[in-house]
Amino acid sequence: MSAPGGAGTETINEMYKNMQTAADTESLRELLKKKFAPTGDSIAFAARFFRELVKPPFPGREFLHQCYLIGYKSCPLISLTGFIMGLVLTIQSRPSLAQFGAESMLPGMVATSLVREIGPVITALICAGNIGSRMGAELGSMRVTEQIDAMEVSAINPYKFLVVSRVLATTLMIPLLSVYTNAVGMIGSWAAMNIHTNIGFTRYFSAAMGHLEFLDIVPALVKTFLFGFAIGIIGCFKGFYVRGGTESVGRAANAAVVTASLAVFVLDMLAVQITDLI
């Protein structure tokens, strides 16, 4: 029993070992797939945007509706935040500038930091929270209640109708909103100036504007288009591929906000590095 058993055990052991390695590579492959599939999927999802954008028909109605929602719904929040940022920035910078007797630099300095950094980033972060979560939740609930499937079966391209319209709207509206934030921020800053000195708005504004250069404005503007695109794509991606029930809709909305905010910071860092090279 033991003699033939010896050879038998060996082969069985070997077989078992082989199976083990096979299982390991299999699970490793699956693990890698699980880890990296979302990244690949999101890139494919973003690439599809450009393909669908150039193919007619264009979802004009839905696009305008989204522009309206983004602009109108974010306006109050952005106005308040922009105003406070301008105000706070001015009050905080004033003492240090006063030390060097450079108070006259204040409008220019505030304008530069608003236009280059604070305006775009604050706008994008607010929109990532506001719009990113709304899109994630909206598309997610459309997915779980089979509304996206209903579009599919009536031969309506849901990507085009839902995603192209939304992403294009964020890409165009967030630059507009951030220009608006900058303007409101300047008003806040002017209000803060008026606590100590009496300066007319026109004079203050032209002093601030005179300080701005091409490299302050254009890279910052380009950056906001990227922010808008990222927020739209991430919000839609998280919602579009929701699987499961209502609780996954909440998770998608949450993930959209977190990922979009992170993307804003990463893009900002890259943009600053690139601008620095110019």
Partner: protein, 254 residues
Amino acid sequence: MAESISAGSAGPDKPVVDIRDLKISFNRIPILSGINLQVRHGENLVVLGKSGSGKSVLIKCLVGLVEPDAGEIRVFDKDISNLSYEQLNEVRLKVGFLFQNAALYDSMTVGDNLAFPLRYHFKKLKPAQIRQLVGEALDSVGLQEAIDKMPSELSGGMSKRVGLARTLILKPDIMLYDEPTTGLDTATSKEISALILEMQRKKNISSIIITHDMHCAKTTADRLVVLKEGVIAAEGSYDQLRDGDDPWTKTFFE
């Protein structure tokens, strides 16, 4: 609209829907394991089966919402899994699908729910024409007064009927009904059964009807199939199945 595919192009003897050896599993649990099913032109086929037996999955395969693991599905003699997105959409335009939960677009009013596919596919239609078509479609399900309501303001049965109107407005050649009368009172569900029958008689629509409502099955069916454990366990006319000697099948008729 795609003229290349019409009900006639499949030929008079060729089935409009032809499913061969269809297999589907989710998370390695087999749901359908070898379905063979044909629907002839102008035929009403009723699918019976216990809850969770894969009836909804079966009709979702026909419009490419669920990808089968194996098998062949031909609709209007076109192999669904080998079509480009555009070709698939041409087929989908000819196939109406009523979802089990209606799946109304909840950001749009009832009227816009119906007008949306029309506006999308028929750019030449004037607003007045669209309004008329929407009115007629809602009238056929007896819900004309609900045109300005939001889906959240409708009852389950009303949503179902709006879903039906939205599907019929595109004038499909094949209809897939997923429990069209569930959640409706007896009188309304009789009306819906009559509507399904009328669609078949007047417009020569071929249908697959999933239902637990035996009255609806009796009224509409030319033929019934019973789904059990992933295969078709029984097939026949209403009377044949009711009077047959399989006790399991007979439980549906009690």
